[in-house]
Point group: C2
Chain length 254, copies 2
Amino acid sequence: MPRYALLVEYDGAPFVGWQRQRDGMSVQQVLEEAAAPLNGGVEPVVGAAGRTDAGVHAEGQVAQVDLGAELPVERVREALNTRSRPYPVSVLSVARPDEEWSARFSAVHRAYRYRILNRRARPGLDMGRVWHVPQRLDAEAMHEAAQGLLGHHDFSAFRASSCQARDALRTLDRLDVSRQGEEIVVRVEARSFLHHQVRNMVGTLAQVGRGLRPVSWPRQVLDARDRRHAGQTAPAEGLCFVSVRYEPGLEWPI
Amino acid sequence: MPRYALLVEYDGAPFVGWQRQRDGMSVQQVLEEAAAPLNGGVEPVVGAAGRTDAGVHAEGQVAQVDLGAELPVERVREALNTRSRPYPVSVLSVARPDEEWSARFSAVHRAYRYRILNRRARPGLDMGRVWHVPQRLDAEAMHEAAQGLLGHHDFSAFRASSCQARDALRTLDRLDVSRQGEEIVVRVEARSFLHHQVRNMVGTLAQVGRGLRPVSWPRQVLDARDRRHAGQTAPAEGLCFVSVRYEPGLEWPI
């Protein structure tokens, strides 16, 4: 069956997450239901590069779906965007990878962004898009602390208890923290991540930003390999899945 | 009674607009109900610099309220932000102007921003924040056409039939159109605006952007002073009230 790659944007707020669940609407279910008419009325399975949690957003999620027909990519995109209404999910582009390509397993690089609104007043316009931390954060201290986590490590200390990965060895390529006006923006890149790894790292760095822990502490947490030593899990709503890279790269024709 | 100035941010989506109405929640009602405990349990009147329509957002609305007590500005802000939950309204700052100051009538300059998402795919993350125009728009042509509207004119052609202003003479100080990736951003500034003036100007410029009308057309519409000649009213959701200026300026202490 012909395989299609989908570049997908969504607001995570109304969803139980990427993955189908019994207790609410998921991004996966929206896309699978929207794709059924393109697949002889049968809902196909739609897989994703990253199975984002409830409340997590995406501006560059990549998904895959096999459909029972050869269709122009424009038609696949238009049909999915028409039938996924009124949910805040949009298929930005559709490509035709070869049939060995997997949205999840062929990915060689993933990028996330985490936004903290760092001001006294709670969010108005960006409610559901940011983690609101009213206490002043020192972004430079957070950035310095973050550099101690770069490289190949056992990230057990930042792994959710629910994480299903076989091991906790990961290579963190980037963890940049910067202030942009009232916002602290964290940019994170790696080949792959453990469940809650980004949110646990951000929650730990925020302790440093508030001056509650020294700059050296996140690295000590990493080395201890014990989740109980890390900071809180930062809330889902500040997290956005920005992009996925493949080798060879996917060509998005539209 | 002591007068307080409020710098307010809100997401317009869930509201019937700034102004109180019987058929739904307004930003004004959220703030008046939140302010009652600061005013001996009586809801005070909260007035605004711009009475935004349903769906229109604000990142720099300015409002005024008289309260029956001298209160620290921090306390007013914290109380309003606690009691306005869970609505997407946030008081960013509180000032103490003199008692002749009026949020509406003392304003000498207002700035709006209008966002158009100009791509095939409908908005996912920015649903409710942008006007989606799938046909390619020529931002340079729109900008050139916009310059013909600058200055002091009778803006009857861009005025809603519901507009209650005594006359349609206004001075347009800025109307810039630029492309930022997939977005067309329109920045508009004037001392004051007619009802729907920004949205009617944007709808008219979009006709030029699509190539349906020449660059000279918006000025012809202006000169004809007849609303029936203008383009559609651009949807509320793309519009954001950015800032208000006063002379002498308000000092936002927090």
